[in-house]
């Protein structure tokens, strides 16, 4: 009651929205909710009629995202300037320690020579297939509120990108291209809960499937299910992509991450290992899209031998 009187006094200064004092029209509300449901059901069809709309909206918002990311970039670099010499020295010591650790591992590990040759052969095969990289920068990240892990990159069909191409960065596998506009593309990260990547344990050559968990940051892990349930991956084993016939969506031999924990339960038919991805998905910036050699592009392409074209 007291509040009501207060409101009454205020009302003279500020009248409420007079045009819909009775609330929104039921009809409009119902129509909008039905429209939402219609869009959802249309989009859940196999060949979604919403895709052209997505593309059209992307053509408008893509360049806006590219421009805004370019405007923001100088400011996001600021924290790096304040990194003191001490912390860099610490980094150097850490890296030296890691380096010697790795060296001793290489020396002591009894690699199966044949397996190694097989693996080298695979890598060589991938190289001789002649892939090139289109460089691109991440200009937009999907919010966690949408529960899907996707990013926008500033290379589109003009740069020779098309759906189902592999996206990597200097650490390893990032994801695959879902759809493109002229100037941007949308990339599904491998940590997305819908993402499935064929993986291979580098040491044992066992194949399996990597499922994302939909979490970014330090908990951003992948689950590896091996096809052969007798094979047990060891801790710190490296997992690379398995790759499919035509090199799409994922090319073979791209490092994905390393095994951190292994679970095996009697109830599950397959071994389950947790993979820590090499890529830091919280700080993605420069990425490369794997395209066949000789792709026409609007920018310099990084060739398989490291040169620019």
């Amino acid at each position: 009651m007291r509040l009501g009187r207060l409101d009454h006094r205020r009302e003279r200064r500020w009248r409420g929205p007079h045009d819909d004092q009775q609330g929104p029209s039921r009809g409009l509300l119902v129509a909008l909710v039905l429209a939402c449901l219609t869009v959802m059901s249309l989009d859940s069809l196999d060949s979604s009629p919403v895709d052209p709309a997505r593309r059209a909206v992307g053509e408008v918002f893509g360049p806006a995202e590219v421009a805004s990311a370019a405007a923001v970039r100088p400011f996001t670099a600021v924290p790096n300037w304040f990194r003191s010499k001490d912390s860099m020295q610490q980094d150097l010591l850490d890296l030296q320690a890691e380096n010697s650790d790795l060296r001793s591992k290489v020396a002591t590990q009894d690699y199966n020579r044949n397996r190694l040759e097989e693996y080298d052969g695979l890598t060589a095969a991938a190289q001789s297939l002649g892939y090139s990289l289109v460089p691109a920068r991440v200009v937009g990240l999907g919010p966690s509120q949408s529960f899907s892990r996707t990013v926008t990159i500033d290379a589109g069909s003009d740069a020779g990108v098309h759906p189902d191409l592999t996206v990597v960065n200097n650490d390893g596998l990032v994801g695959r291209v879902l759809r493109v506009t002229r100037t941007t593309s949308t990339v599904l990260l491998i940590v997305d809960a819908d993402s499935v990547v064929g993986g291979r344990v580098g040491r044992s050559m066992e194949v399996g499937f990597l499922h994302g968990r939909g979490v970014l940051g330090n908990d951003g892990r992948l689950d590896l299910e091996l096809v052969d349930d007798t094979a047990v991956p060891a801790k710190h084993d490296t997992v690379v992509t398995w790759g499919s016939e035509a090199g799409g969506p994922y090319v073979a031999g791209v490092p994905v991450g390393k095994v951190t924990t292994v679970y095996s339960s009697l109830r599950e038919t397959a071994q389950r290992a947790v993979i820590d991805p090499f890529v830091d998905f919280g700080a993605l910036d420069l990425v490369g899209i794997v395209v066949p050699a000789g792709t026409a592009s609007d920018r310099a392409i990084i060739e398989a031998d490291g040169g620019l074209r």
Binding site: V39, R54, A64, G142, S144, Q145, T150, D192, V215, G217
Partner: protein
Amino acid sequence: MNAVRALVAAAAVAVALVLQVSFFPHLAWDGIVPNVCLLVVVGAALTRGPQFAIVLGFAAGLALDLAPPADHLAGRWALALVVVGYVAGRVRRDAQPSAGTVVATVAASSFVGTSVFALTGLVFGDPIGIPQMLEVVLVGVLWDVLLTPLVLPPVMAMFRHLEPDRSLA
């Protein structure tokens, strides 16, 4: 006047969307960013009432659903923001909202909006864990409340300014 208002509202949503996708990820906590589009819809609801807010919510939601890098089922944010427009529009429509009311409305709207989105995901079989969902909803509310003093006053002033009989009253 109606066309101008629609244009300004669309521009506000577009700016909010680009900020949300390209700028706020640099400040994001675990990928959770303030939902600026939702704040614009709440601002519209508090000044213009639910009728306008549900239409704007639908448009802003569709933009969120379609603009890259969105990859979820289109229409889910649209539904969530229509509900937000309705809920926020029902709050205290008879007086100029105080700061406390605005913050409370934003918190409630953010909670409702993200929850509706997450629940539609459950209905359509999105593999989301409940703990993760709760984290996203709660951090989302926190972010939106934090951004309220920066976003809501200009947005509400803008929508109020666009209605001459209101500003003269």
